[in-house]
Amino acid sequence: MPSWPNFRADFPVLHQQVNGKPLVYLDNGATTQKPRRVIDALVRYYERDNSNVHRGLHALSMRATDGYEGARARIARFINAADPAEIIFTRGTTESINLVARSWGHAHLKPGDVVLTTEMEHHSNLVPWQQAAKASGATLKYVPVLGADAEGGLDLAALDALLTPAVKLFAFTHISNTLGAINPATELCRRARAVGAVTVIDAAQSIGHAPLDVQALGCDFLAFSGHKMCGPTGIGVLYGRRALLDQLAPDETGGGMVVSVTYEGATWKPAPERFEAGTPNVADAIALGAACDYLDALGRDQIAAHDAALSGLAMEKLSTLPGIRIIGPRVGTPRSGLVSFAFEGVHAHDIVTFADEDGVALRGGHHCNQPLMRKLGLTSTTRASFYLYNTPEEIDTLVASLRRILKFFAG
């Protein structure tokens, strides 16, 4: 492990015991913990600035508006968007993808069109496309995942045959929340663009874990959640290229997104307001800006290196457990900071319950990835997912806990 400062002091929640043991939080794929700086931003906003945005002329409303729009600009810088207007605040990845599927899908998809996605998508980047395809008469196709344990990642050779001019949109995940596979997002966008397809990247698992540059990626849309990058729940982002957003009709309508309303009709503001009907989530947007500051102060390339070192260590140590089946990239190949595994005869939920007794927080289940699980012949896996505050010692605790569980069930 390369040396890396210990940031645990920044995270109040980590300093507790669970079932009499120090908390070992390894469920970061589900949500990350929040540093003091983000919690303080929330408290400060509610204690000093709370007000509605864009409509008040009083001091508090101006402060709230500045904070909210400042957060938008901060996030634009965080992902290197060309223009803050390309940042639409949503509730999270799920809402962001649904917005594209409904607004863009409704305007552009027709029978005979193809929507392309992959076999490794989270339900939130799969079901909205199923719905859009059903509503429009388009066909949904999947880029296959290779290998009995999905160790081969996306079948890039099959992609050429799949990427025909009929493909109008290609939606794929940057990092798989179940496999830990890191998809070659820049290449995928380039190949999709070559056939004129619009690209949507699900960046839920990558956003807080590595540098991300939407212009370098060359994507049209990109979705992520604040709560997976040290930010609060209830806030997320849809990035959309300005040229596309300007042509897009709103999905929700109401206050804040209109220019002029008569009894007969209404006209829309440009992006981003067009897509943010109603009072926005001001406090959480501001705190998300604070999360960007926090992550950049640490350095996202360093966070990525730390994640990779931890997952490499976990792969090495978990591989020594008898009967373990690890899915996703093999030892020695790139993998994000998470490992999913299964044991013959011991179910993930029993593992999670036992590990909790040791203070270790894991995730067990299908990880919102039912079709992929079925393809791999699994009903569930146990997932350990790491973040900037996890330590090599915590991986030892995990492995010791698993050994104890295996022994118990072996009887």
Partner: protein, 150 residues
């Protein structure tokens, strides 16, 4: 560890390792399926009903030790019972897993008393039972842990 030892009693571990009456029942005239969408546990229950009496019962599915052992033990308990007796027994079982109170007269299902200390696992313990009751009622709709209250 004491709560866990309570949860995973020997009876449960034994039924998990060596499930009884597992597989399809060729003579079944009733079948129902149960799903726990939160964790992906699944359980199908096959019944041979002769009049009002369960003369044959098996189960099939996948899930955690609690759900599999519970379904296995249930098949043993329900064989030969009438529909009314089965419903009654579910009432007793439900009481055990939600309150942790072990009634004296009933032996093996008392092993599930430890479940009550793990509220998230109550649905695991009752999945097979809900499927069985649906099968008894001839309910064609699959049982899901999201539509019944534990």
């Amino acid at each position: 560890m004491s709560d866990l030892a309570d949860l995973y009693q020997q009876v449960i571990l034994d039924h998990n390792r060596r499930p009884r009456n597992r597989g399809r029942l060729p003579t079944a005239n009733r079948v129902a399926h149960g799903d726990n969408p939160t964790c992906g546990d699944q359980c199908s229950v096959y019944l041979q009903l002769d009049g009002d009496r369960i003369s044959g019962i098996t189960f099939d599915g996948s899930g955690c030790a609690i759900s599999q052992a519970s379904a296995s033990l249930m098949t043993v308990q329900l064989k030969g019972k009438t529909a009314a007796e089965a419903e009654n027994l579910f009432g007793v079982f439900h009481e055990i897993v939600t309150t942790g109170k072990e009634p004296e007269e009933i032996s093996d299902i008392g092993a599930f008393a430890g479940v009550h200390a793990f509220p998230a696992r109550i649905k695991c313990a009752t999945l097979g039972w809900h499927a069985a009751l649906n099968a008894l009622k001839g309910d064609p709709v699959p049982a899901t842990t999201e539509t019944y209250k534990d």
